[in-house]
């Protein structure tokens, strides 16, 4: 599914290397977690994969089912099946959540040469998915993320993911700012989407989200590199002992 090789990335404005050679392979249907201390490059990796401006790829490659992601515009990556759940979902006043969802859904379908959904068809589709995430009609009507609580914003991200049905989902610190109940709801939403053809890359500081979304593989990232890879037990080790030991081991 997702294949990253020797990825080296600079921050454009500061001429500073953030990713110093990342290798990562996420197989179809797998859930990988990336953990690591602040400033290790986890979020940068998600931005670079989804095509945010401000980064310069110096070396390496990133492909999704063999397609070169780094050569595509952000919207092309989305149409190819990549989705990033933002750590800080953006507020867009004056644009209804529903309008936003339908515009995105139809834009992707159009890009893939599929027929666009009518307003009625789409409404039905969204209502079903929204119900599972406890997103009410009012939240669908309101402007995108405006006045949403932290939990509502994250649920709204998962709703977009459920509606757009990407094959590669990246969750960037989706657990940040969530209370236990909200985190459970979000995790349930993610788990409901797990399938053979869909993979996840879950970026998080803490192990607690991984109690709800059980990963197949856990990576530890530090200073722009993946320094250790293991099973779910690696996350527990971080939870117990912090990053100190692992960083020490590999130093």
């Amino acid at each position: 599914m997702l294949n990253i090789k020797g990825l080296k990335v600079d921050l454009e404005e500061e001429d500073k290397q953030i990713l110093k050679g990342v290798d990562l392979e996420v197989g179809a249907g797998q859930v990988h977690a990336i953990m690591g201390p602040n400033g290790s490059g986890k979020s940068t990796l998600s931005y670079v994969l989804s095509g945010r401006d401000g980064y310069e790829v110096k070396e390496g490659s990133a492909t999704l089912d063999g397609e070169d992601l780094l050569d595509m515009d952000p919207e092309e990556r989305a149409a190819a099946g990549l989705f990033l759940a933002f750590q800080y979902p953006v507020e867009i006043p004056g644009v209804g959540n529903m309008t936003f969802l339908r515009t995105a859904y139809n834009a992707q379908r159009k890009a893939r040469g599929e027929p666009e959904a009518s307003a009625a068809e789409f409404l039905k589709l969204v209502r079903e998915k929204a119900k599972d995430l406890k997103i009410d009609a009012d939240m669908l009507k309101r402007p995108v993320n405006v006045g949403f609580s932290g939990g509502e914003k994250k649920r709204n991200e998962i709703l977009q993911m459920a509606v757009l049905e990407p094959k590669m989902c990246i969750l960037d610190e989706t657990d940040s700012g969530l209370d236990v109940d909200a985190m459970k709801l979000v995790a349930e939403g993610v788990n409901a989407l797990r399938s053979e053809g869909r993979s996840f890359l879950v970026i998080t500081h803490y192990q607690r989200l991984l109690n709800h979304i059980t990963p197949d593989v856990v990576h530890i990232m530090s200073e722009g590199r993946i320094i250790k890879t293991g099973g779910p037990e690696l996350a527990l080790e971080v939870e117990e002992n912090g990053y100190g030991n692992i960083l020490g081991e590999t130093a």
């Binding site: 945010r52 919207e75 989305a78 867009i92 644009v95 834009a107 992707q108 757009l164």
Partner: protein, 429 residues
């Protein structure tokens, strides 16, 4: 104060070209008085402070510059609504394209008719607010309008009008010069929605004087025509009584020159005056100016000015807005925001926001910003699969949304929004 020499010469030259329209006694007197006001203040000069950002030359000239007629090839805005419809073509009343001038809760008569009779109640309203509106700043084109207006509508609202009144101003002649003047008199507790649309002429000088009596409500939504070369100078005056409401919204898309002045007086306790606008400008030929003056002269009134301008490819937007709070106008709640979205480096926004406050217990705020599309928001939309151009349009609509929210009737706001979407989509190609 004596006029400067260039101003005197320019004014004399223009006045020499003016022949006052025929009319009844009161109209003759009103026109001559207006001409006297104009003579005393002189036409605007590019050096006048109030015309610093907008060149008045093309409005001063005796003959208008030609403007091609633009056919948008789509249904006229507001035309599918249940309204009382009045049409002027190049400033001339078109009975065959108008409804019978009658409706529940209001009386309508053409200004030309009212002016033809020797006695008409319009004489107590015509030019009155225009005359007051020259203090503290002269508004010569409004005086010119009062002197030379040929027609318009005179509306007296006695109850709750059952349908909106819609005035469409058609432009069919490339060299037409239209001067129209409307009077709206809302009696206590009366309600009216007025819709206006269209470019009117190659050059349009438009005045509307609105008296909103105690407890009356006036909603006004205007969509100025999209002809690229048209020019328009408009003055909207309103005096608000106790507990009354006045809300006006203007959509300006295209046009070589638009200057919309609004002068509002809150004179009764607890009045509400909102004035808003959205302007869409594309190209160096676009110049749009909103010049607003709101006076609070009573306690506990609320006013809002919300103006949003989308500018690209060298377009120019201007905002001059003032809130004046007079002594004694305590508990005033005044708000003013003017913002531009500059879609490229060639366009410009010139803003002069002002507050002048002589009362000590008031809440007034104002803000003015110029900015580009938010890169983070753009990335967010694109990451969902929305192409850059479409995402930019969505964010443009998002930018304009606050002004559209000032429109009371949601279906009208939706209609304006649809027109904006169309305007954006055509530019996307």
């Amino acid at each position: 104060m004596a006029l400067t020499k260039p101003k005197q010469e320019m004014t004399d030259a223009r006045l020499a070209e003016i022949t006052l329209p025929e009319g009844g006694r009161w109209a003759r007197e009103a026109r001559e008085a207006a001409l006297g006001r104009l003579r005393a203040m002189g036409l605007p000069h590019g050096r006048d402070e109030y015309w610093r950002f907008t060149r008045p030359d093309s409005l001063n000239e005796a003959t208008p510059r030609p403007a091609a007629v633009f056919d948008a090839g789509e249904t006229e805005i507001f035309s599918e609504r249940e309204t009382i419809h009045v049409t002027f073509v190049d400033g001339v009343f078109a009975p065959e394209e108008s409804d019978t001038l009658e409706g529940t809760g209001l009386e309508i008569v053409r200004l030309a008719e009212a002016m033809a009779s020797d006695i008409h109640w319009a004489k107590d309203v015509y030019g009155k607010l225009e005359t007051r509106g020259h203090d503290p700043v002269d508004r010569p084109f409004a005086a010119l309008n009062s002197a030379t207006a040929t027609d318009g509508v005179v509306i007296r609202v006695t109850g709750k009008a059952d349908r909106p009144l819609r005035i469409s101003y058609q432009h069919r002649n490339e060299t037409s010069d239209a001067v129209l003047h409307n009077l709206v008199w809302l009696e206590p507790g009366a309600e009216l929605t007025l819709l206006e649309n269209g470019p009117a002429a190659a050059r349009f000088n438009h005045v509307m004087e609105v008296e909103v009596a105690d407890g009356a409500t006036f909603h006004h939504v205007r969509a100025q025509g999209r002809d690229h070369e048209r020019r328009c100078i408009s003055h909207l005056y309103a005096r608000l009584g106790e507990g009354s409401t006045f809300k006006s919204f203007t959509l300006t898309a295209n046009g070589a020159l638009t200057r919309n002045e609004a002068v509002l007086w809150l004179e009764g306790e607890g009045g509400t005056a909102h004035i808003a606008g959205a302007s869409m400008g594309d190209g160096g030929g676009f110049h749009d100016d909103d010049t607003i003056f709101v006076t609070h002269d009573a306690e506990g009134c609320e006013s809002r000015q919300v103006f949003k301008k989308v500018l690209r490819n060298g377009a120019t937007g201007v905002f001059q807005g003032k809130i004046l709070v007079k002594p004694g106008a305590q508990k005033t709640d005044g708000y003013q925001i003017s913002q531009s979205l500059l879609l490229d480096g060639d366009s410009q926004f010139l803003a002069k926001p002002e507050l002048e406050i002589y009362a000590d217990d008031v809440a007034c705020s104002h803000g003015s910003t110029s900015g580009a599309i938010d890169e983070t928001a753009l990335y967010y939309l694109r990451s969902r699969g929305i192409a850059k151009e479409e995402a930019t349009d969505l964010l443009t609509l998002s930018f304009v949304a606050e002004a559209l929210e000032e429109i009371e009737d949601e279906s009208i706001a939706e209609e304006i929004r649809t027109r904006l979407e169309g305007w954006l989509a055509r530019r996307r190609g």
